[in-house]
């Protein structure tokens, strides 16, 4: 099986690679369209700022490649946000795979960013097979995707938001599967088994 991690300027991909190593999966880290299109699975990770990341994807033409992929694609954290329509982070037009908006948490009553372990519920994704309701996973983010028909896992911070999204071959998680303990590992394994 060929798994590709998309190479772009939203960093700390090393943790994702080590997480794949731990479950014995091999992978290729690349931004070349041909390699990405021929992969069996595509992982689109992300830590960083939305507008800078989108500008880079546009420059590389990856903003046109990713939405037209037909194999299973998993976006995490900022990767997930870039798969939505628009982000309030520097008013960024994103790839629009999921027709919904990414908004900033209201910081008036809560600390922002949302950092730490929080429980996810209403689990309806094939990626959460084997995970009990209210499993804990690790989040670090200031922006969130609204609840929508694509929401397949929810989390509460300030308000309920989308912890996971799913549409056709596109999967996404707001949290960091790569450092979310056994639960995160299970989600990655489930993704690779799609």
């Amino acid at each position: 099986m060929k798994t590709v991690i998309i190479k772009y300027n939203a960093g700390n991909v090393q943790s994702v690679m080590y997480a794949l190593d731990r479950i014995g999966a091999s992978y290729l880290w690349t931004d070349e369209e041909a390699e990405i299109r021929t992969a069996d699975k595509v992982i689109f990770p992300g830590v960083g700022e939305a507008s800078t990341a989108m500008a880079y994807l546009r420059e590389k033409g990856l903003d046109k490649v990713i939405p037209t992929l037909t194999q299973p694609v998993l976006g995490t954290c900022v990767g997930m946000q870039l798969m939505c329509r628009h982000s309030e982070e520097n008013d960024t037009t994103c790839m629009g795979i999921f027709d919904l908006n990414v908004k900033r948490f209201d910081a008036s009553a809560h600390k922002v960013p949302h950092v730490g372990w929080n429980n996810i519920y209403d689990l309806q994704s094939s990626l959460t097979t084997g995970l009990p309701e209210n499993s804990y996973v690790y989040f670090v983010h200031s922006y969130f995707a609204e609840l929508s028909p694509y929401t397949v896992a929810k989390c509460d911070y300030v308000q309920p938001f989308s912890a996971m999204l799913h549409k056709d071959n596109f999967y996404a998680a707001q949290f960091h599967t790569e450092i979310s303990g056994k639960e995160g590992q299970r989600i990655l394994e489930n993704f690779l088994a799609q």
Binding site: G11, Q14, Y18, A107, K111, G116, N118, Y136, H176, Q185
Partner: protein
């Protein structure tokens, strides 16, 4: 619900854990990777590795260690000690660290916080503040808490947040090592004024102390070293206790 975090801290010298431990099941008590993995298994929410040698010679050893930890540990971890440049941070993050912690270098040149936050994002920049109560004022100290500065702790905490710190690791040198409890009042003052998480450190001696730092101290996370290493407090027991007391905890 977002949970309060329990964070064991491992002091590292020449790639080895410094303070002794009495984990009888450890093959090698000085191996930070094995110890870190055990803590992760026991339910630690994050780990902090503090390089107390932090000389240029030891940098490569530390990077190797970070790479090994990242390979074996599936929870977030922070690395601190002697970090003073973008290049230092880049090397640690590329080796697999999730966050870095800076202390004296931020006091020396506060712009470093802005530069690191811009380059790597606030989420991975922890600013450690060592504080001591001197002549009626909480004063920032550097060099492992030995050297006083002229900076007031509460103002400094606000400044590091404004400059882009993602979290604050607040260590009270007044309570550190006493096992008499965290500096709850100061922690609460800083936490209430901050919109970023506060990790409280220094003084943990009992499970009640963690309860107090999360309630009275309003901390987002509690960090301790020796009480975990010497198994005076078991992480699972601690987390069960806190949950029974109504604290939101990951179990």
């Amino acid at each position: 619900m977002l949970t309060k975090r329990i964070i064991p801290c491992l002091d590292i010298k020449d790639g080895r854990t410094v303070k002794g431990t009495n984990f009888v099941n450890l093959r090698d008590a000085g191996d930070p990777v094995e110890l870190g993995a055990i803590y992760a298994e026991q339910g630690a929410d994050e780990l902090v590795f503090l390089d107390i040698t932090a000389t240029v010679d030891n940098r490569k050893t530390l990077i190797d260690l970070v790479r090994n930890v990242a390979k074996h540990v599936n929870i977030p971890f922070t690395v601190g000690g002697g970090i003073s440049s973008i290049a230092d941070v880049s090397a640690l993050l590329n080796a697999g660290a999730d966050k870095v912690s800076i202390n004296s270098s931020a006091v020396r040149r506060p712009e470093l916080i802005n530069e690191l936050a811009l380059q790597f994002g606030s989420q991975c920049i922890v600013v450690a503040i060592d504080t001591r109560f001197v002549e009626n004022e909480h004063i920032v100290h550097t060099h492992g808490g030995r050297k006083p500065t002229e900076i007031r702790t509460i103002a400094w905490a606000k400044e590091v947040e404004e400059r882009g710190a993602g979290e604050i690791l607040l260590t009270s040198m007044d309570t550190d090592g006493t096992k008499a409890g965290f500096a709850n009042q100061l922690t609460a003052t800083i936490s209430t004024n901050a919109s970023i998480p506060i990790i409280a450190s220094g003084g943990a001696g009992s499970m009640e102390h963690f309860y107090e730092v999360f309630t009275e101290g309003k901390a987002d996370a509690g960090l301790a070293a020796s009480i975990f290493h010497f198994k005076e407090i078991d992480i699972i027991e601690l987390k069960t206790y806190l949950q029974q007391k109504g604290i939101s905890i990951r179990l």
